[in-house]
Symmetry: none
Subunit: 144 residues, 4 copies
């Protein structure tokens, strides 16, 4: 039998709060999705003005990051033409996201969930995802 | 050009709060989804213990209620064997939900969004959806 | 080699006009879809107030009627519990529609396309589909 | 509560008329799709000779442009190998279109819908989409 560590509903809320505060600070309304360590949706917030196309992209970035235990931007390099994972962006019905904005959430060395953000540039999305994780870590006293 | 009224992000949060309080009161952790008047996801919360299969069901109940401007349980009667809309439950890739737990949110006579809840019985899901709407109406002073 | 008769773009427009006029007359804004004899979309109109969930349902009713060369309500009987086509409503990813509102368009004994309507009751949808066909037949002098 | 501006059915018809006139002028029969500001289909026309594969492409270009509030050709640059959004073309089940022919429709600074066109080259598709928007703006006296 295995014991799994997983974000709870309060953790998910803190991740969203931290990401939304950063989104407000840079003036880009975002779609923010939180998944558990199994890739299943825990929480979602579309800020006023967040893009309709970003709903699914945010959820899928979080799914990819938590399910693959890897930041989505890391797949960006690996999936370039000629690189080992070329073409992986269309895997799982296109849910495998390979550009910035999806991060695994790690606590005590284990991936306990993911955060996925979309509506800005991939760099902005990633910046807000990092802010979400930082906020959770500080509020709860978790360490990676 | 048409002018449309739509739930904002704060409204969505109040709907979730009201529904989650009722879910706590009856002791059934729920998946709670809020869509705008066009059926697109605005907010989602899976309470600790909410079912994995209920993620999509809650989202699709809310999609159905807002998109069809109708409570999902109303489709339950209309889609029984021999009834006029028999078979509609598999429409839109199976997203058309015909059992209780999805309600349109109406303000000043217009559908401005939807709420969809899943993890309990359809009656429990519907009860929590109603509580979510009641909470929004009271907090914001909206009327149907 | 086979020669196929098919609705043209002008025919499709007349079908929509006739259906929309009937929808206006009964006060129910509709989604109206026209497909060719191969089931592929030719034209679509969502009247102001037509339901979001009805977009796909209207298209799929027209697809079913033209592709199966059969009115969708005829499948309603055949797909009841115990009847020969029970369960067919979930075929083709749920696109096979079994309630009223989809009609094949026949000219000189051949199916040349289909019309699918949704947003009202199945009876209202069917009534508007019939009005669309009647309008086309009269304006163009076609006969079944 | 938010107040949203959205194309109505008459606006959608004007967009199609303007695009179809340009398509006639350049001799390329097109598939023309109009979505509202939430990405949901409002109107569609396949001109006689428009391609079957272009039905979905036109709808998805319009979905992308309205939902992401961005011209589809802008994603073309951002999604090249090595660019920040590389791989985004397979997002949302492949609905995210990254080549020319999809434009958001803006009125008074807000995106109120989208137009998507397919059957020609991306440049021809875009040219017809622009003509559709120009026609709407002139006929209704709207300004961007």
């Amino acid at each position: 039998m295995r014991t799994i560590q997983r974000l709870d509903s309060g953790d998910a809320q803190l991740l969203i709060e931290g990401a939304a505060a950063e989104a407000d600070a840079i003036g880009v309304p975002m779609c923010i999705a939180i998944t558990d360590e199994s890739g299943n949706l825990l929480a979602f917030k579309r800020m006023d003005g967040g893009k309709v196309t970003s709903i699914t992209i945010a959820v899928d970035k979080s799914f990819t990051a938590s399910g693959a235990q890897k930041a989505t931007h890391e797949y960006g390099e690996a999936s370039q033409p000629g690189a080992p994972a070329y073409g992986i962006f269309s895997a799982i019905g296109g849910r495998l996201m390979v550009f910035g904005g999806g991060l695994p959430v790690k606590v005590d060395g284990a991936v306990v969930g993911g955060i996925g953000i979309s509506s800005g540039t991939p760099a902005q999305d990633r910046q807000c995802a990092e802010a979400g994780i930082k906020h959770l870590m500080e509020k709860k006293g978790y360490s990676e």
